[in-house]
Symmetry: C2
């Protein structure tokens, strides 16, 4: 179909060099004389040559592809993470093949197969679906971000410190009782990094002998569902801890915002006995009707370190005598506390 592609052969004929020399022009130009470089450069322009990396892949095996499987782009956290990951192209030059997981193992296995068939050099996993021991068996450089990571390399936020910091902030405001609302289903799943938030909360409260309550509740994915659950929780708390200064540590800003709105609609303002800290530093935390104090994950750093860790593994693999990692590397990124109106009042 259509007009023939210009290849090294055409350039070679046109310039009376060999294919090899044309190839060298791209991969090791200094090995050619300057004038020959110019001749070839001119030929490329004359013939309007466009490089074909697919052929290069077949010849040398380097696709420069990284595969990504991400749970969704609905949550700002994931969208921003993907954004930051894609931005590393400027630094590392790797191209990204992106799939959005749907929570079903079989589907995600299909995605991984598809990615492998394109000879990706490494894989970034953000979904929680496939256990890390299975991922490890893929025998390809892998880095996970904020998920169960026992058998693979990973980059995570220091969730424990985040939980500790959030609780500490509420304690500093002399809250009589501190309540942590988290959506993780099981209280006993320490493999999920986000569980660290719970532990940080619990440890701080115990160490400082602060009255506290842990509310673990799966609230569903729709706004209505979350709102209804939080309405119930708000009513219970208000009654149960009436007269006490209440510190609320909510495990993400979306829910924190919904809770703040419920409070505003109930009282017209944030009552003096309510203090609130979210998690994530989503845009919503800043743009809420009352700006929300929150623990921010350094998404740019998480993304950068993840790709860096992946690139290192990929580079190691290309050596003649690659030595595989003895055990997975787990990097930890420090979270940042943002003090806003829900704790500092206004």
């Amino acid at each position: 179909m259509k007009k023939k592609n210009i290849t090294f052969n055409d350039i070679a004929e046109y310039t009376h060099f060999s294919k090899t020399t044309i190839s060298r022009y791209f991969n090791d130009p200094d090995s050619l004389t300057l004038e020959n470089q110019e001749i070839i450069a001119k030929a490329l322009a004359d013939l309007d040559y466009r490089e074909n990396k697919v052929a290069r892949i077949l010849a040398n095996g380097n696709t420069e592809f990284i595969g990504i499987i991400i749970p969704n782009l609905f949550l700002h956290y994931y969208a921003e993470m993907l954004n930051q990951i894609l931005a590393t192209y400027e630094t590392f030059g790797y191209k990204f093949l992106v799939f959005v997981g749907n929570g079903q193992e079989e589907t995600e296995r299909r995605y991984i197969d598809e990615l492998l068939s394109y000879k990706i050099e490494g894989l970034i996993i953000l979904t929680h679906t496939i256990p890390s021991n299975e991922l490890a068996e893929l025998n390809i450089p892998i880095v996970t971000i904020e998920r169960e990571d026992k058998y693979v390399c990973s980059v995570n936020t220091d969730n424990y410190m985040g939980g500790y910091q959030a609780t500490s902030l509420l304690a500093n405001h002399d809250c009589d009782v501190i309540i942590h609302i988290n959506y993780i289903n099981s209280p006993a799943n320490p493999d999920v990094p986000a569980y660290g938030r719970v532990q940080g909360f619990l440890d701080f409260c115990k160490e400082h002998h602060i009255k506290h309550e842990l509310i673990l509740k799966e609230m569903g994915n729709t706004y209505e569902s979350i709102k209804n659950h939080l309405t119930d929780i708000l009513n219970v708390i208000t009654e149960k801890y009436s007269g006490l200064k209440k510190g609320l540590f909510i495990s993400n800003d979306t829910q924190a915002n919904i809770l703040v709105n419920l409070i505003i609609r109930k009282y017209g303002k944030l009552p003096d006995d309510f203090f609130l800290v979210g998690f994530d530093n989503s845009p919503i935390s800043q743009e809420a009707v009352i700006s929300i104090s929150t623990i921010g994950q350094q998404i740019d750093k998480l993304a950068y370190e993840a790709i860096k860790l992946l690139v290192e593994q990929m580079a190691e693999r290309k050596k003649r005598k690659p030595k595989p990692l003895e055990k997975p590397i787990h990097k930890v990124i420090t979270p940042i506390l943002f003090r806003r109106e829900t704790t500092e009042k206004y």
Copy 2:
């Protein structure tokens, strides 16, 4: 490096068939006897064969790659659009190579070159950077979404209808004056689809002889900057149209939400003489302290129709005698009105 890859050759040796037969097993299995299919299937499992699509690309030219250049993933609109585009993998099977543009033409040209070097079969453009006449010259199937599209195929929301609907809703609530706040810089750039919103607003007001004002203002990209601009606008409007029922049509939900919050902080509630409609149906419009009426773009349909239109072009190109489009196809998707508390009150 490492253990050799299993290829069709290995399978052929193992099964005493030829490479061709193995190839046929994948591309036209029915041409083999059932028992031979089973023999090969077993061999594939025994040797743990993994297919190599890169080699297939080189052989038959079909990469099944689509390139995407998107402005950012910060705005929910783009994140959701990317999500819906990626989701079409299940329908059409195309894989996506994604780049985030940064507004600089040179950078985006580099991205396009890189994409072309991987022999993408089609290109989806959401950035506003490179003019469509230049895109058209790439001589590859292209579909743009909600951007200037004079010389290329595109899918857009019916922005004119959206603007008309929003204004109509405000008029139905007997607003004395309707004000449209839009961030597009120039009032005279009808090539940008979003300009249709302005035109729809103006036409409705003129047809129905409604007092109106058009506020076009570049507000910057930071929350602080937008808030400051909107604070000024709110003060001016409040004073200028004191005593009148005011209908505000804001060109996106993020800004609408910030404006609602400013109003709530000023009055504690949405005063009876304020009515408000946003645009986009972002999650924030539903989750705002007072849920915001808005014009929703059918992002799923936009994405699906864009890929469908692209796939059709790509298919046409593979025919022995492809006939190029005489002129670009522009599809239009109807927006949907969501009535919420900022107009229906509560």
